[in-house]
């Protein structure tokens, strides 16, 4: 390219430095008596400056300005425009810039919105957020500058890893980052509350929407990642207990606990210090997750080539921010008023149990994720901890949580249940029995799988119960809770069924040959070449039939991309009875035979439906205790009880 491009990248670089200055003002101003009012404008300025820097980088990607090193390393003129743009964050520097952008925009939002807890409190919260921003901006500018130029500029880029040229993965990082940043805001609000020495129901009410939003986005982000792994990697699975997956799961577990404990604080004024501790812990684990993903300290199937020196910077940032926050918590928490008392079998009692189970899960995942690192440090031995450990330790707790999720929303606040309460549990109990028996009839082999079916049946029916026989219109909160819990029940059913009832076949076939699996006949009809915009592929055509009647046609591919040169496996997936028929094609080996790995994945769609319902439920619940009504007249949305089997 001979045309001289304007110095947009330098302007972006400058904007980042100015944003760092604004972040420092934002971080310092609230602690000074007269400068306090500067925090909000500084946050707004920082938001706009980082947005400017991001737009500058986006422009460089869009016009393929290969004098910018990052663009050369990750883009190509022939790449589809969508992936030129998503290529901005499909690399270390760009994804850190996206992270900072979302944080800065959250600060901008906080600065522009009304301050329910007063301007001084808002300034302090912005101050804490400013410290986080400043740390990451410094990391970007000093250790991962996205605007570095190369001289002379190459005429063509190296292209983007084909696995990342995919809609599922394109939107996985931004979704997850919105979730992380929501937790940063909750963290900032928590530290500000600690410094003020006062935690009230009002604080909980102001913070809960951020936590609910963060949780919804984390849920969606994790589900997008699992979905991508499922259809793109061609391994037939959706969760591998990989360190990078755990890095996202751990903040989600804490966010789940926080989302529930903050309800106790909001309604009963209890658990103030506990809730603040969870807010700090959620942030700490988001930071730990960023460190694990970006430093490459843990061997992971997701590991990319990374620079370990960056890990040190992140580790110092992690230790400084979370260490400082926990210190503030330890110093200030004893002065915060004690929470209200409550009964053991009340709603709040069940929420405490929920929190304890979630923390136990967190502890197990954390130990399993960091153990390899610790063992190598101590003895030099290299170990990998995978599904055998995590499945054996976490699944029983997940089942316990599912049972608790069914009961909790039926319990009353403040008091133990009335004597007739147990009768309300008959319908979910019957459903649990029915689901367990159906599972057995379908061929479940293990006790854990049968219990998984039973727990799913229990939870699905129990989550609808709060609306049965009630004339009052539900609050957004109750409705959102029910939707999210229903989603969790469906996801549990999908996860159990797709795993325990899965059928698979690994075969080597000539064209025209067939095989049978799980009551289906599969025939390799043809293998031929196909071509896409930047790839060529061999595509197999598999005809699937049942009792002679055609069911589906699957077309798995073995693809070869040109820039960068790389081979990928594209699974052939067709939905069937709420699940998937899933096939992967092996590479040609010159023998005239084709290797095919074929799976039947029953009910796997429920997993994705469940995740979307969970996120939707959280969004609905953020509406709070308002009752639903059409504007103008108070007409209930749900006027008739939902029909359920007779008791």
């Amino acid at each position: 390219m001979t045309a001289v491009l304007p110095p947009i990248p330098e302007l972006g670089h400058l904007a980042l430095w100015l944003a760092l200055a604004a972040a420092l003002v934002q971080a310092v101003a609230p602690w000074h008596a007269r400068l306090g009012q500067a925090a909000a404008p500084a946050a707004a300025a920082q938001g706009l400056l980082v947005l400017g820097a991001f737009v500058a980088l986006g422009w460089a990607f869009l016009v393929s300005d290969f004098s910018v090193e990052l663009v050369t390393a990750n883009s190509h003129t022939m790449k589809p425009t969508l992936y030129k743009l998503t290529g901005i964050w499909a690399n270390h520097e760009g994804s850190m810039l996206l992270w900072v952008l979302i944080l800065a925009l959250a600060g901008l939002l906080v600065a522009l919105m009304p301050a329910p807890l007063g301007p001084a409190f808002r300034a302090r919260a912005l101050g804490v957020a400013g410290m986080v921003s400043a740390g990451f901006l410094a990391f970007l500018l000093l250790a991962s500058n996205p605007f570095t130029r190369i001289e002379p500029a190459p005429t063509e880029g190296r292209g983007l890893n084909p696995l990342l040229q995919d809609p599922g993965l394109a939107f996985h990082p931004p979704t997850l980052y919105v979730g992380y940043v929501g937790l940063v805001v909750a963290f900032a609000l928590a530290v500000a509350a600690l410094l003020e020495g006062r935690v009230s129901s009002d604080w909980a009410r102001a913070t809960r929407p951020w936590v609910a939003g963060a949780w919804a986005f984390l849920t969606l982000g994790i589900a997008l990642g699992a979905w991508w792994a499922y259809y793109e990697l061609g391994w037939g699975g959706w969760w591998f207990w990989d360190p990078v997956e755990n890095a996202a799961l751990m903040p989600w577990l804490v966010a789940t606990a926080l989302l529930h404990s903050i309800r106790v604080l909001e309604t009963r004024g209890a658990l103030p210090n506990w809730t603040l501790m969870l807010a700090i812990l959620g942030f700490a684990l988001s930071m730990l997750g960023t460190f694990i993903v970006r430093s490459g300290v843990l061997s992971s199937v997701h590991a990319f080539a990374v620079d370990p020196t960056r890990g040190l910077f992140l580790l110092v940032l992690l230790a400084g921010l979370t260490g400082g926050a926990f210190l503030v918590w330890a110093l200030k928490a004893p002065r915060i008023a004690e929470g209200a008392r409550f009964a053991a079998f009340s709603r709040e009692g069940s929420l405490v149990l929920n929190n304890l189970l979630l923390l136990a899960l967190l502890s197990i995942v954390l130990v399993g994720t960091l153990y390899p690192l610790a063992l190598e440090g101590v003895s030099g031995r290299q170990i990998s901890v995978g599904p055998p450990y995590f499945n054996a330790t976490t699944l029983p707790i997940v089942l316990g949580l599912a049972v608790l999720m069914g009961v909790g929303p039926l319990l009353a606040w403040k008091r133990n249940p009335r004597p007739g309460f147990v009768r309300r549990l008959w319908p979910p109990l019957a459903a649990a029995l029915a689901f367990g028996l159906i599972g057995l009839a379908l061929g479940l082999k293990t006790v854990l799988a049968v219990l998984g079916f039973a727990a799913a049946g229990w939870l699905i029916v129990a989550s609808l119960l709060p609306f049965v026989g009630r004339r009052r219109v539900p609050t957004f909160l109750a409705l959102g809770t029910a939707i999210a819990h229903l989603g969790a029940g469906l996801a549990l059913l999908g996860a159990t069924a797709s795993g325990a009832l899965q059928r698979e076949a690994l075969v080597s076939l000539r064209v025209g040959d067939g095989f049978a699996v799980g009551g289906l006949e599969v025939r390799l009809y043809d293998v031929g070449p196909v071509a896409g915009p930047n790839w060529t592929a061999l595509e197999a055509t598999l005809h699937v039939s049942r009792d002679g009647r055609p069911v589906a046609t699957l077309t798995p591919q073995s693809r070869t991309y040109t820039t960068p040169p790389m081979e990928t496996t594209e699974a052939g997936i067709v939905g069937w009875r709420g699940g998937d028929l899933y096939a992967a094609l092996g590479k040609p080996d010159g023998s005239g035979r084709w290797q095919i790995h074929f799976w039947i994945k029953p009910l796997v769609h429920l997993l994705w439906v469940g995740a979307v319902l969970m996120a939707t439920g959280a969004a609905v619940a953020a509406g709070g205790r308002a009752r639903m009504a059409w504007p103008g007249r108070a007409r209930p949305l749900v006027s008739r009880p939902v029909p359920v089997p007779a008791e």
Partner: protein, 148 residues
């Protein structure tokens, strides 16, 4: 817990159960770690200290050029993993990962058979051309083989 506790006691009970949930779960998990974790071995490690028969381990090194063969069933792959000084014969039944190449790094999870061969259940698929599994990079360094 019968009735309601005084706030101070309630706080103690809560803190105690939280500590129990965190520490207890962690402690319960530790034996499972020893039991279910898979240790990493380079071919030289297998010679020096053989793992117990039947234990699930991970074997890593470079795929020896010219050693990759497909057996008659059309599904089983046989190849040799080397770390520069020792070699291990590996068998694997299944689809081969996209980035499996002669001369490239590989990590196989599976079990050592009595005859000294390695039966792999999984081959690590890499996401990135420039990426070398860290264990492989480390196990190669002492022998002086190129490990980028």
């Amino acid at each position: 817990m019968a009735g309601k506790l005084a706030p101070r006691h309630q706080r103690l009970v809560l803190a105690g159960s939280a500590a129990f949930a965190l520490v207890g779960a962690g402690l319960l998990a530790l034996p499972a770690l020893e039991d279910k974790g898979t240790f990493f071995y380079a071919p030289s490690d297998l010679v020096r200290k053989r793992p117990p028969a039947g234990e699930r381990i991970r074997l890593g090194g470079l795929v020896k050029p010219g050693s990759v063969f497909r057996q008659d069933d059309g599904l089983t792959l046989a190849f040799v993993v080397t770390d520069g000084s020792q070699e291990t014969h590996v068998r694997y039944t299944g689809l081969v990962p996209d980035l499996f190449r002669e001369g490239q790094g590989v990590v196989a999870t599976g079990r050592l058979l009595p005859d000294g061969r390695f039966q792999a259940e999984e081959l690590l698929a890499k996401h990135d051309e420039n990426y070398m599994p860290p264990e492989v990079a480390k196990s190669l360094r002492p022998t002086g083989s190129p490990a980028s």
